[in-house]
Amino acid sequence: MSFLDIRHLQKSFGAHRVVKDFTLGIDKGEFVSFLGPSGCGKTTVLRMVGGFEAPTSGAVSIDGRDVTALPANRRKIGMVFQSYALFPNLTVAENVGFGLKVAGQGKAEIARRVAEMLELIGLPQLGSRYPFQLSGGQQQRVALARALAPRPEVLLLDEPLSALDAKIRVSLRDEIRRIQRDLGITTIFVTHDQEEALSMSDRVVVMHQGVADQIGTPFEIYNRPATRFVAEFVGTLNLIDADLVDAAAGHIRLAGVPVTLDRASPGRAGERISLALRPETVTLGRGGGDIVLPGRIAEVHFLGPVIRVRVSVEGGGSIALDTFNQADRLPPLIGAPVDISMSHRDLLVLAA
């Protein structure tokens, strides 16, 4: 049995089923992200774990203790909100010490723990400030310290970085992960930002229409997406149509070129199937794998370290590919004839 056990959780608001049969086990100290577009049910699952929403059916248990019926204030859960939710009338130190005071700890113990927490988030000098005197990034650090101070068993982070600007978001996400590792606290992180989910998590749960479409390590989610939705939502993707020649043997025709897949393909001979291909697995020129397709450069986007090129393939359709920028080589020219190559192992056959 896992440390945090979520079993067959369902939630309906009226006739609308927001979460449909969600089951997940999280080990102690694990960092799991719920990733999905808005309205997919990720926040609702988090709120049910936190005790802010009652499940229509299903159960949540922490360390073998069933907490489904417990109110939020008795679950020993730390929560960080997108809007920071610091108490405006209390100083930073009083905010961080709030949970300890509720727990009835002594003044000296509270002061010691608050100092320790402020040290942990790197703001030891700001204890006497009020929240409105802090920047967004500082407020969210304080919110994290406040959530961690009473030593919760589980930490819930509800899109904590969404309200911050890009640079602070990256530095704070590294810091959250460092603190989480240091304390070894079991954590659920809700986000709609795939980069955050992939870079921070031990495991990612990709949610879609109230269901966990795929649960896996960031590597698995990115490289072996289980459904079409996961493939499309996580990372950028080329979707290419191909003709199925022999389903059992995995023979297909891709832009007129015969290709043999690693595995048997679903479907019947003569059908059109969808293949997915990550832009970074395609090489400009020959030498990138066993499949070579001729074409013409249609678009060039210079993104800094990476140049994204879209090539119109002669047999029909277009494929985007990423190539690294090199200071001594000019980007490709639009309209120039070019060969692109790829390995058949990188082609993913998507379930509908």
Partner: protein, 262 residues
């Protein structure tokens, strides 16, 4: 000064005169108690009157109790309506506005009819009962001001997130209301409280019909029996009301964690 500015100033001056002239006249009259001398004699007489001290002290105590009752009644109601039953807000707002539409005399007649000495709950029959009725009546009169200011205060803070944050840290409802919500709407509660104070201190209809000797009936009695003292009393009553308004301004501006300064 351009012509347009001149007209603006003239309008302001006329408006000011309309409000100030009667006050100045009243103040002037209140200073003429001693023939031929300009003095505060009327104020001295009024302030030294044991009746004044007794009725004024009683009304102040009642006003403070009304404020406490109002806070206990309104803050949790406004909070839970916003947090849990936002659909009920128009209905609650309508109910709290009723005291502005229904005259106090109707309310007090209703009280006397329901709680008279031959009723099941004969509150008008005892000193304590009458005071409780008066207190409840004043809390009703202050509802429109108290509820609106508290509700406006609640609108400026994210009560849902603050509540959940406090809950996740282990706090129960009483602590959330006392430590998180109330201090953050304190300025709004104060403005409601000062308005309540100003209403209760001079209220006449409730007190007279319940036969209670408070400051309002005392002022009316004084007005019917003396010449200069009523003007002095009116000036004192005005000063109290204005002091309340001034204090609202002061607290709003100097609240140390005011969101307005963000």
């Amino acid at each position: 000064m351009t012509g347009r500015q001149l007209w603006s100033w003239l309008a302001v001056a006329l408006g000011g005169l309309y409000f100030l002239l009667p006050l100045v006249g009243m103040f002037d009259f209140s200073m003429r108690m001693q023939r031929g001398v300009y003095s505060f004699q009327a104020y001295r007489v009024v302030l030294a009157d044991p009746q004044f001290q007794q009725t004024f002290g009683y009304s102040v105590a009642l006003a403070l109790l009304t404020i406490i009752l109002g806070i206990l009644l309104v803050v949790p109601t406004a909070y839970f309506v916003r947090l849990r039953f936002p659909g009920l807000r128009p209905a609650i707002e309508f109910i709290t506005l009723l005291p502005l539409v229904i005259p106090p005399i109707v309310i007090v007649f209703g009280y006397i009819r329901i709680y008279n000495t031959s009723s099941v709950l004969p509150l008008t029959g005892s000193w304590w009962g009458t005071n409780i009725l008066l207190l409840c009546g004043y809390a009703v009169l202050s509802l429109p001001y108290m509820y609106r200011s508290v509700d406006t205060g609640l609108r400026t803070i994210d009560i849902a997130s603050l509540t959940e944050a406090a809950q996740s840290l282990g706090a129960g409802w009483a602590r959330i209301l006392a430590v998180v919500i109330l201090p953050n709407v304190f300025v709004s509660v104060l403005s409601g409280a000062f308005l309540t104070f100003a209403i209760v201190i001079g209220e006449y209809v409730f007190a007279a019909l319940l036969n209670v000797n408070s400051f309002g009936p005392y002022m009316v009695w004084m007005g019917g029996n003396r010449a200069y003292e009523p003007s002095a009393l009116a000036v004192v009553a005005f000063a109290i009301t204005w002091a309340c308004m001034g204090l609202i301004q002061l607290f709003t501006r100097f609240s140390k964690f005011s969101t307005a300064r963000r």
